[in-house]
Amino acid sequence: MIKLENVTKAYKGEVLALHEASCEINKGEFVFLVGPSGSGKSTFIRLLNKEEQPDKGRIFVAGKDIGTLSSWKVPYLRRNIGCIFQDFKLLPNKTVGQNVAFALEVIGRPNHVVRNQVPAILELVGLSKKMNNLPHELSGGEQQRVSIARAFVNRPLILLADEPTGNLDPATSVGIMRLLDRINRTGTTVVMATHDRGIVDTMRRRVVELDRGTIVRDQARGVYE
C-alpha cells in the first residue's frame, strides 16, 4: 500500500529531515511512527500525500509512484488518504455536520450522498447529538472525533494521523485510539506519528522509529522503546 525507497528530504539548507528512509507498509496495517521531536515524523507523513516532495528516492502509494504524478492528479491521490492532526483543523464557523459535509461537497459528491453519509459517519464516531454544534462548543476529544469523521467519511484506503492525541488527556486519548483501531479493522491502513509512550505500549502494533531523519528500528508488535 505504501512504499518508500531511499527517501531523502532536506528543507532549504537545513539539516536532513529524512535520510535514505526505506519502508514498506501493507494494506490494513497499523503503524506507529515514533521518535523525538524533530526526528522527521511529520515530514514522513507529508511526503505520503504529496504536501512535500522528496529530494531523492521514490514513494509509492497504492501501487503508484507519486513522484511522477502530474499535479492535477494530486487531488485524486488525496481522496484516497484521510488526514488528522494534533490541532484538528476544523472550520470554526461551520457546525460539526457542516465540517464533515464540506469534505464531501468540495470533491463534488452529490447532495444525496452528503445527506446520507454525514449522519452515518457521525453515528460511527459517537457524535450524532452534536451535529449542529460549533467546534468550540466541543471538548478536545470530541473535536478530534469530528476530524476523524471528516477524514474517514470518504472511506479512504489510508488514514494518516500526525500526533492525533497530542492535545488530549490520556483518558480521552484511549477513546480516540479505540476509534482508530475500529477504522483500521475495516481494512484501512493507518499510519500514526506519536510520542505517546503509553499508547504505543498498550496497542502493541508495528513501530517504526526515527532518529534525526533515519529509520533506526522497524519492529512488529513493538513498544515505544
Binding site: P75, C83, A103, G108, N154
Partner: protein, 298 residues
C-alpha cells in the same frame, strides 16, 4: 466532476459580502475607469459623425465689414459669381443676419435687446461645387484679402479645430482610463488575495481532502469577474446617462446645428456598452486569475 452550482454561488456570495469595502473600492474603480473610457470613445464617435456630415457639401461664409461699401459688396459678389467652383451663393443682409441671431440666442432675450441689425455684418453663404476639403479651403482663402471682407469662416476649419482638440482630449482621457483600469485590476487582485487569506483554513482543508485546483479557484475567479462586471455595469449606466444628458442639451438648443451633428447613434452607445462589459469581465477575471495562480499553488 461537475462543480455544484449552489456551492459556487454560496462561496462567491459570502466572499463578496465578507470583503465589502474592498469589493466596493474595486467596483468603483472599474466603473470610473470604464465610464471615462466609454465617454472618450463616444466623444470620438461624435466627432467622426460631425466631420462626416460636414464634409458632405458644406458651405463657407464670407463675412463683410459692417461698414463695407456697396461697391465692395458688389465686387465680392461678382468675384464669387465668376468662380466656376462655386455652386450657390446666398446673400445675408443685416435683417436676415438679425433673424438668425435672434434664432440662435432665443434663450437669452437680454442679449437680443442689446443688438441692432446694423451692428451685424452682412455675409455671403457659399456652397462650393467641389466638396473636397482642400479645394474648399483654397477657394475660401481667395476671398480673405478682398476689400471690405472681415473674415472667411469655413465650417471645415471649425470642425478640424474641434476634431484635433477632441482627439487630444479623448486620447488623454483614454490614456488615463487605461491607467485607472490597471489600478482596478490591481485592486481586484488585492481583494481576491484578501478573500483567499480570509478563507485560508477552508482552502487548506479543501486541498487536504482532495478538492481539485479548479474547484478551489473558481469561486475566487468568479468573484473577480463579478467585480469587473458590476463596475462595467455602473460605467454603462454612466455612459447612457451622459449620452442622454448631451442629447437633451443639444435638443434644447436645436438651432446650434453644428453641435447637433455630434449626437451619437443609440446603436453606437450599445456597441460601446458591450465593449465596456467585455473589458470589465476581462479585467476582473485577469486580476483574480493572477492572484489565484500566485497564492494557490498545490
Amino acid at each position: 466532476m461537475a462543480m455544484k452550482a449552489n456551492y459556487l454561488f454560496r462561496e462567491t456570495g459570502s466572499n463578496l459580502r465578507r470583503n465589502i469595502t474592498l469589493t466596493l473600492a474595486s467596483i468603483v474603480t472599474v466603473a470610473v475607469s470604464l465610464a471615462l473610457f466609454g465617454i472618450a470613445l463616444l466623444l470620438r464617435q461624435g466627432v467622426d459623425n460631425a466631420t462626416q456630415r460636414w464634409e458632405g457639401g458644406i458651405e463657407f461664409v464670407v463675412f463683410m465689414n459692417a461698414d463695407a461699401s456697396a461697391a465692395q459688396l458688389q465686387a465680392v459678389a461678382d468675384a464669387l459669381d465668376a468662380s466656376p467652383e462655386v455652386a450657390k451663393i446666398t446673400f445675408f443682409d443685416q435683417d436676415k443676419a438679425f433673424e438668425e441671431f435672434k434664432d440662435l440666442f432665443e434663450g437669452t432675450p437680454e442679449l437680443i435687446e442689446t443688438v441692432q441689425p446694423s451692428d451685424l455684418p452682412t455675409s455671403f453663404r457659399v456652397v462650393p461645387s467641389d466638396t473636397d476639403p482642400d479645394a474648399v479651403e483654397q477657394l475660401a482663402s481667395r476671398f480673405e484679402t478682398s476689400p471690405g471682407v472681415r473674415e472667411v469662416v469655413s465650417a471645415q476649419e471649425t470642425i478640424r479645430n474641434i476634431e484635433s482638440l477632441t482627439n487630444i482630449a479623448s486620447f488623454i482621457v483614454l490614456l488615463g482610463s487605461v491607467f485607472l483600469l490597471a489600478a482596478a485590476a490591481a485592486l481586484i487582485f488585492n481583494t481576491i488575495r484578501m478573500a483567499m487569506f480570509a478563507r485560508r483554513r477552508e482552502i487548506e482543508v479543501m486541498k487536504l481532502v482532495g478538492a481539485t485546483n479548479w474547484f478551489i479557484r473558481l469561486p475566487f475567479m468568479v468573484e473577480g469577474m463579478i467585480q469587473g462586471l458590476l463596475g462595467a455595469g455602473v460605467a454603462v449606466g454612466a455612459v447612457f446617462g451622459a449620452n442622454w444628458a448631451l442629447d437633451r442639451y443639444l435638443s434644447d438648443r436645436n438651432s446650434l446645428q453644428l453641435l447637433e451633428s455630434f449626437v451619437v447613434a443609440t446603436e453606437d452607445v450599445w456597441r460601446t456598452s458591450f465593449l465596456l462589459l467585455v473589458i470589465g469581465v476581462i479585467v476582473g477575471t485577469l486580476g483574480s486569475a493572477i492572484a489565484v495562480s500566485r497564492f494557490l499553488d498545490v
